[in-house]
């Protein structure tokens, strides 16, 4: 309820473990891709250097052959290296005129233009690469080698085309999303189960889907189930003990009650006052046992709920009349509600809850003060407000008001009656129907209890 607003909410994107893990993996994978790309770039670069050296060596040899043995031998050599070294090249002299016709492409004229200094920029002249060669006799030639398009490295690494990058990112994102989901989804389920358990559904267990995982998350699931098993056993044992004790106390009380009446017949009237006193105490114990048993029954909520349609207005009307009658009209109860208010649920439980709160209001406030009972209709809910003009409850006690046997210290005396179970019963009764109950102090003094009920509870 109010616990949720303890911390100012940062945007979901930063709070959610899902997105944290998602971005972590995603960015990591992108970084990995880029570093791999850069690395291969370097490797390719080195290879290119070696290739350059190799081709230049062959070019120098070609220049030397031309100088020493003439054009024909050069042609033979050029054919030879095409076959043996897979280097298809032709020679241009210092004026960039072709020396041999061997391997001369149709566009050879382009290579007669002056070469720029940057070797890398010349690289892609339609698959040809010119190399500047100086022969052993220090004359300058140009050796143009045809480059095979299927190089030693994939082309996309050189170009890093946008489309491929996007595709890669999307694929990586999908993978990351899946991995992240595999981690956070069980955590989400674990949270749901824990919440449900905390709400008092002690039979909540994690589905075996998580339990079957053999990793750490699966272990957590199994551990949760073991813990749930243990706690629910403890709780049910405690409840059973509580119930058994209550039942067992009741039998001797019943006998005592009759024995007391028998005694009353035999004793003179002068003794009857003491007997009445005992009788009243028996009655009190009976009431207390009743309340405890009722509370236990509601907490177990294993009973088949009998859902029926009922008129809340009618119920509250009767209830207020009865309560006022019992109270001998020491308080004035103002009932403000719609004429007719059909709900679906368990009227018995609603009646019990409101009755307990109303009685408490009467018990803990001064005679002659007023009690207000308002009913407001909302879209799917009905809100019942019960307000009194008493002293209210210390702020730190408000939350504990619905704990069994909890009583605000100042009121812990027998005179005001009550056993501190009434409010706990009210809470359980309302919760059993999917409603909520909250207590607060009114600014103008007095306690306000707000019951919110769904119009139709299943």
């Amino acid at each position: 309820m109010s616990l949720m607003t303890k911390w100012p909410l940062r945007p979901l994107i930063f709070r959610s473990l899902y997105w944290k893990i998602f971005f972590f993996f995603w960015l990591t994978l992108i970084a990995v891709i880029f570093s791999v790309a850069t690395l291969s770039e370097i490797i390719v670069e080195k290879r290119e250097q070696e290739e350059y050296q190799r081709v230049v060596k062959l070019g120098i040899k070609a220049a030397d052959i031309f100088e020493t043995k003439g054009t024909e031998e050069l042609t033979v050599w050029l054919r030879y290296i095409d076959q043996e070294f897979n280097v298809k090249g032709f020679m241009l002299d210092s004026k960039r005129r072709p020396i041999s016709l061997a391997n001369l492409p149709k566009n050879w004229l382009e290579f007669t233009l002056p070469l720029t200094q940057n070797r890398l920029s010349e690289r892609h002249l339609r698959g040809f690469q010119p190399y500047r060669i100086s022969s052993s006799s220090n004359r300058i030639y140009t050796f143009v080698a045809h480059r095979d398009n299927s190089g030693p490295y994939p082309a996309w690494l050189k170009h890093l085309p946008i489309l491929q990058v996007i595709t890669a990112l999307v694929i990586v994102a999908l993978l990351t999303a899946f991995v992240t989901w595999r981690i956070t989804d069980p955590l989400r389920k674990l949270k749901q189960a824990t919440d449900s358990f905390a709400r008092g559904n002690f039979d909540t267990r994690l589905p075996m889907l998580i339990g079957f995982r053999r990793d750490e998350i699966g272990e957590v699931g199994l551990a949760f189930n073991r813990m749930a098993e243990r706690i629910s056993l403890l709780v049910s044992n405690q409840q059973r003990l509580f119930r058994d004790i209550s039942h067992e106390l009741r039998t001797p009380l019943a006998r005592q009650q009759i024995a007391l009446e028998l005694l009353a017949r035999k004793l003179p009237d002068t003794e009857h006052q003491s007997l009445h006193r005992i009788e009243r105490e028996i009655e009190r114990m009976n009431d207390l046992i009743d309340q405890v048993l009722t509370l236990l029954r509601l907490e177990q909520n294993g009973q088949t709920p009998s859902i029926e349609a009922y008129d809340l207005s009618d119920l509250l009307c009767k209830l207020t009349q009865d309560a006022q009658f019992e109270d001998q009209s020491k308080h004035q109860v103002h009932l403000q509600q719609p004429d007719k208010n059909m709900l679906t649920g368990q009227p018995e439980l609603v009646s019990r809850a409101v009755e307990n709160i109303l009685r408490n209001a009467m018990r803990y406030t001064a005679d002659g003060s007023q009690i207000f009972l308002h009913v407001d209709l909302h879209k799917d809910t009905v809100v019942i407000r019960i307000e009194d003009e008493g002293e209210g409850v210390p702020e730190d006690s408000l939350k504990r008001l619905f704990e069994p046997f909890y009583r605000v210290e100042a009121s812990r005396n027998q005179q005001s009656g009550g056993y501190g179970v009434g409010m706990a019963i009210a809470e359980q009764a309302i919760r059993a129907q999917g409603g909520t109950i909250e207590a607060s102090n009114r600014p103008e003094g007095g306690l306000r209890v707000v019951i919110t009920l769904p119009k139709a509870s299943g």
């Binding site: 039998t251 009759i258 009446e261 028998l262 009788e279 008129d311």
Partner: protein, 234 residues
Amino acid sequence: MTTRILLIEDDQELNELLSEFLALENFEVDQAFDGEQGLNMALNGQYDALVLDIMMPKMNGLDLLKQFRVNNKTPVLMLTARSDEVDRIVGFEMGADDYLPKPCNPREIVARIRAILRRVEMDKAGMQASGSRQVIIREDVELNHNTRIVSKQGEDLDLTSTEFNLLASLLEKAGQVLSKEELTETALGRHLALYDRSVDMHMSNLRRKIGPFSSNEPRIKTIRGVGYQYVIND
């Protein structure tokens, strides 16, 4: 003439104490300590009233009541566990005439027994009353005080004696609103107590058994804060 009561209660000591108390109140009490014994004694003896516990070994009070009611109209006061409303509702459906939460003051038990008996007397007196009151016919419903049989469209309805009394009161004053106090007094023979929903429970059983008019309008209407009314269907 002494009144004979069968007390069916499995708690030996409680049974003894209660018998002693009832005896002091001039009842002649027979004791049964489990369901089977109780049913046998109830069927074979001539009792004026039964006081019946629900939780019992061998056969519980509800089963006993069901079998006993097959052809027996002896009034039954049921003792239910205090906080168990389900038992109470089922008990009424099975045909208990009144219930008391247990444990309770034995004086209250005596008062309830007297109330039931008084009512039975009243019914007997009613039977001997003059002719005009003996049979009430309203539309398709016929109520016969002599035979204590109610029929709808010629078919007999299986009503408990409390339900019969409620219907009789309502039919006699059809169209008028009867308060819960009035109905409690005429049908249960006692005063309305605080948070007393007995009449409401009997009434809901009666409604279910008698059904609505052919127009699907309910025959018995709840008038909020006042009581109940048998609707005149024109």
